[in-house]
Amino acid sequence: MQESSGRDLAVGGFVLLGLLAIAYLSLQIGGLSVGREGGLMLVARFDDIGGLTARSPVRVAGVKVGRVERIDLDEDLRARVILDVDPGLGLSIDTAAAIRTAGLLGDQYIALEPGAEDAYLESGEEFMFTESAWNVDALVGALVHGDATGEDD
């Protein structure tokens, strides 16, 4: 009986350890959200999202405040990006969303630049101002050939 109860304890501990490991892997590393209060869902439309992917970070002044929930195309064939942002921030309605790159070749993220209006963005609303990703090809082209609008005219 003594031996059996010690073994049961070991089995219980083992199963608990395994379940904790699965929970840690799913919730912390895998980013699964269970029962979490839904964040603020905001829509941003871009002409070019570059290398942005779902789960890319959303930052204000470099501080991570959310992530990209979903990316799809809208009716006009522009990229529609759904952002999941911390609801306690109080982003004004003239906040701008820009796609930026961490480092020269690093991952891309969305930088939010808060505006000056008193009214705040509500869930489901859309950003008024957006700035697409920098296209390296276009940038190099402009450098090599000079700005197309400047010389030929």
Binding site: V11, F14, V15, G18, Y24, L25
Partner: protein
């Protein structure tokens, strides 16, 4: 010539017949699962044998694999100046592939072989017949608890293996090679997704557990009832289960990518 073809034909027929017997056997395990009593103490005892006793092996192997991954990938990534992606590379390879597969192979070698040998020697010493004499179904009393334990143990051990590997690569990358701890963890957490990666890992290890439980108990149950038969069945369990796990891994990876 005719004799050779005849031997070939007999082999194929035997092979197909054994597949059929294995399927019937699996059906009997499932039926035993549903029939009362639930055999709780026996399942716990089998969980102890194949789970708790495998834990040290899994942790040590996971750490070592993590060390090696940390060193190898750091060297490769630093050629491109991309050491910051070490967390991504380690996490993806461990969670998607190495965790479930290596855990499957290790558990097949440690607990699968033991299960076959145990059931096989029970058969060789006529203990299974003894149970039948007492109107106790050996599948319900001996096979089912061990099959349940082998199946359940696999996802738990695989996840422990993955976390040990991530910790091992952390020790090498951050503590030894001086990578920034924040960038290792951030690149890990940013690139791993639940549905593509973690769920794939769990489903894979569960399938490997089912395969191993099926093969190990069948080999023991169907072995020739003498010492040589038991040893042959034990070897066969490790070989068959390993090959099946690797094949199933390819199939599952391909299915997930579709």
């Amino acid at each position: 010539m005719k004799a050779v073809v005849q031997i070939l034909g007999r082999r194929v027929i035997e092979w197909i017949a054994s597949l059929g017997q294995m399927t019937v056997f699996a059906g009997r395990i499932v039926r035993a699962l549903m029939a009362p009593p639930t055999r709780g103490p026996l399942i716990r005892s089998a969980l102890f044998d194949s789970g708790v006793l495998s834990l040290a092996l899994i942790c040590a192997s996971g750490l070592t694999v993590g060390f090696v991954l940390g060193l190898q990938l750091y060297n490769t990534l630093s050629r491109f100046g991309a050491e910051e992606s070490l967390g991504t590379a380690v996490g993806l390879s461990l969670i998607r592939e190495l965790g479930p597969v290596l855990t499957g192979l290790l558990v097949a070698g440690r607990a699968g072989s033991a299960t076959t040998a145990e059931i096989g020697s029970m058969k060789a010493t006529e203990q299974l017949d003894g149970l039948r004499m007492m109107a106790i179904d050996p599948i319900h009393f001996v096979v089912m608890p061990r099959a349940v334990a082998l199946t359940l143990v696999m996802p738990l051990l695989s996840t422990v293996f993955v976390l040990c590997g991530i910790a091992g690569a952390y020790l090498i990358g951050v503590e030894l090679l001086g990578l920034d701890s924040g960038s290792y963890l951030a690149s890990l957490e940013n690139s791993i997704r639940f549905q593509e990666d973690v769920l794939q890992s769990l489903v894979k290890s569960l399938v490997f557990g089912l395969l191993l439980a099926w093969i190990a108990t069948w080999r023991g149950f169907s072995c020739a009832p003498h010492a040589a038969g038991v040893s042959r069945a034990t070897t066969s369990t490790v070989v068959t289960a390993s090959v099946c796990i690797l094949l199933a891994d390819y199939v599952l990876t391909a299915l997930w990518a579709v």
